[in-house]
Amino acid sequence: MNKKLKFRFSRKALAYPYMAFLILFVVVPLVMILINAFITDGNKIGFDNFVEFFSDAGGGLTVLGNSLIIGFVTTLLCLVIGYPVAYFLAKYHASNNVLVLMFILPMWVNFLIRTLSTKTIFLAMDLELGMGTVLFGMVYNYLPYMILPLHTTLVSIDKRLIEASEDLGASKGTVLVKTIFPLSLPGVVSGITMTFIPAISTFAISEILSVSKIYLFGDAINMHFSKATNSFGVGSVMSLVMLVLVIVSNLFTSLNEEEVRSVL
């Protein structure tokens, strides 16, 4: 009986410090955001913040719309540029690892440094900072996040399926459209989520590359918390909206392959 009461050090205990960290720095702040969302002017409890955001009084909804559009365009551009890159990387993967490295290398440089250097280049070229430069910065920053999952799925496609497709009468182009692309859909979906979510929530890129002319959802949240006073409430509501978007897209990725295909 005595033995049962004794604390037994099991491998599970190794996870406790991180659990504590998670509770303190992830769960607690989330709860605080949730509470903040219902508090207006420091003491009133109610749905005022939600009303303010969803009635677009402070322009929050418009910013969300703009961000979604920019996020969508960025993702589309990343997909259109990234798919061929990932395809050729996968095709010549065995013989050339240096190529893959070249595409991952930019990820090792801090994104702020990358973005600031991009700005300097644009200024040196005498380009006007605005929508174009922001989109460029976004695509440049998020392209690796599109290429990597695509590359992983494309590499893992069974070569025999491609041969089977050719055997059944498919030319090289048809193989790509009818076999390789459908089989790479899981990679496309995870590439989209890995690009789209950061693209709508980012603030630094748009701020730096448009000299704060273009105002995205991330910028708005940032402003509510850091610059304006007494607007923690609306900021929290916006954070919650962001969170819901993230959860929805993650649900989308975690659907199994067949469900993804039926959705698309």
Binding site: R160, E163, E166, L168, G169, T174, K178, P182, L183
Partner: protein, 487 residues
């Protein structure tokens, strides 16, 4: 006269300079069930892939209905393949998999007509949905999967996936169906059933089947013609009975069915000497006292009483194992040189029994030996040291440095070492055949010379070994420059 459908002419294939298929020529006739049989790595799958178009031969030609298709991509060839482990499309259901080829197919639409420029034009069209559905359903029915069209391929058992793969290939009505070890992943019972089903399909459809397998029993059961391959080369082409009863060489005999392979000499026509005993046989045309290989199938050796007048040789029983429809007996013959024989008979004997053995004259299968002595070319590295196959061997020779020499080494003078480092050069064991009282191995050096080695031990195929040769066993002969040596 049978009509040729596929002709492979002097085809070679190498990957990174490593030959996989060496000068293979093969003719396949319309409607035949041809099996390419051989151990793994013998080039049978590569040969099949060259017929399918997935590989291009390094040299040589492939003809289909008389037309050269060597360079034709797979999608333009009128052949379909059933892949090893099926290769079904996971993103499509059973119906979608089978319909895949049909959706890509175009057929002539209406009669050819003359256009304004006076050229004859044939309009092509895709199959309609109804046509595809009808064909797919017929294919599903053929493989007994009528109600499975909507199922996901991953929810099917191995046998069912196999049937889908066959239906997917056959629905395109190819002239030749290529099958790459299609039954390898199935359990024994399922495999037997599928063998019979495939044979029935072949009979019913009347198209040509080219089947690749390493399972000799499968090949013997199903084929009209067996092509035995080893090491990228064809060893024998023949009907199952021919290949089984009259193997072309010791390898074929060893690979197909169980067999006793012994060394002997041909005393004269119809008379063979094996380890001091003389037997009557039916083979003629060998040189007097020519060393030969003799093959005797276990079921052709009959156990008789020692006192029986039929008794040709006496032997001592080592083991006797019941195998259901027969007893498998191993026995050691008496005499100066004792040979171990495997016997399948339906009499039970006890270990240690003295038994008599009887073999009918035409059950001795006599074959020329592939090689009598290892001969190769080399160069004197120094006085008393000869260099060949990338190694320097000490030898008893006084020839000068740089002299080109012909080296001969007897099979039993080559010594194999377990540790590659212990030998002068390294080599890979590529075949081991038991010859009654010793093993004959073929070991391949890193520059592709095959040493024949007679040894007391069984060396495992694909093992790395070292090669050593005693200095006095290396026979050297100087080669004059203008003299060409055939190795």
């Amino acid at each position: 006269m049978k009509e040729k459908i596929i002709e492979i002419v002097n085809v070679c294939k190498s990957y990174d300079e490593k030959p996989v298929v060496k000068n293979v020529s093969l003719t396949i006739y319309k409607g035949e069930f041809v099996t390419l049989l051989g151990p793994s790595g013998c080039g049978k799958t590569t040969t099949l892939r060259m017929i399918a178009g997935f590989e291009q031969p390094t040299s040589g030609k492939v003809f289909f209905n008389g037309k050269d298709i060597t360079e034709l991509p797979p999608h333009k060839r009128n052949v379909n393949t059933v892949f090893q482990k099926y290769a079904l499309f996971p993103h499509l259901n059973v119906f979608g998999n089978i319909a895949y080829g049909l959706k890509l197919k175009t057929i002539p639409d209406g009669q050819p007509f003359q256009n304004r420029k006076g050229q004859t034009v044939q309009k092509m069209r895709h199959l309609t949905k109804a046509e595809i559905t009808e064909k797919v359903n017929r294919a599903l029915k053929m493989v007994d999967l009528e109600d499975y069209g909507h199922r996901s391929v991953n929810s099917l058992s191995g046998g069912q996936q196999q049937r889908v793969a066959i239906a997917r290939a056959l629905v395109n009505e190819p002239q030749v169906l290529l099958l790459d070890e299609p039954l390898g992943a199935l359990d024994l019972k399922m495999r037997k059933d599928m063998q019979i089903e495939l044979m029935q399909m072949h009979k019913k459809l009347g198209i040509t089947f080219v089947y690749v397998t390493h399972d000799q029993e499968e090949a013997l059961t199903m084929s009209d013609k067996i092509v035995v391959m080893k090491d990228g080369q064809i060893q024998q082409i023949g009907t199952p009975t021919k290949v089984y009863d009259e193997p072309a060489n010791a390898f074929v005999a060893d690979f197909i069915g169980e067999s006793n392979i012994l060394s002997g000499t041909m005393v004269k026509d119809c008379c063979v000497n094996i380890s001091g005993h003389t037997f009557e046989c039916v083979d003629k045309g060998f040189k007097r006292n020519e060393p030969i290989d003799v093959i005797i199938r276990p079921e052709d050796i009959h156990i008789v009483d020692v006192a029986d007048s039929n008794c040709l040789v006496e032997a001592e029983v080592l083991t006797c194992v019941f195998k259901g429809d027969h007893y498998q007996v191993t026995a050691l013959t008496f005499g100066d040189e004792r040979n171990e024989l495997i016997i399948h008979d339906n009499v039970q004997v006890a270990v240690g029994d003295k038994i008599g053995l009887y073999i009918k004259p035409f059950d001795f299968h006599i074959m020329h030996k592939a090689r009598l002595i290892n001969t190769l070319e080399g160069e004197m590295y120094d006085t008393g040291v000869v260099e060949f196959c990338g190694g320097r061997f000490p030898c008893n020779s006084t020839l000068d440095e740089g002299t080109k020499v012909k080296i001969s080494v007897d099979f039993d003078d080559v010594e194999l070492t377990d540790d590659e480092e212990d030998g002068v050069i390294g080599a890979t064991v590529i075949s081991t055949i038991y010859k009654g009282s010793y093993y004959q191995c073929i070991v391949r050096t890193d520059d592709y010379y095959d040493f024949f080695v007679d040894t007391d031990y069984e060396w495992l195929i694909n093992d790395r070994v070292g090669i050593k040769i005693a200095p006095d066993k290396i026979l050297l002969e100087e080669v004059k420059d203008e003299q060409k040596v055939e190795v």
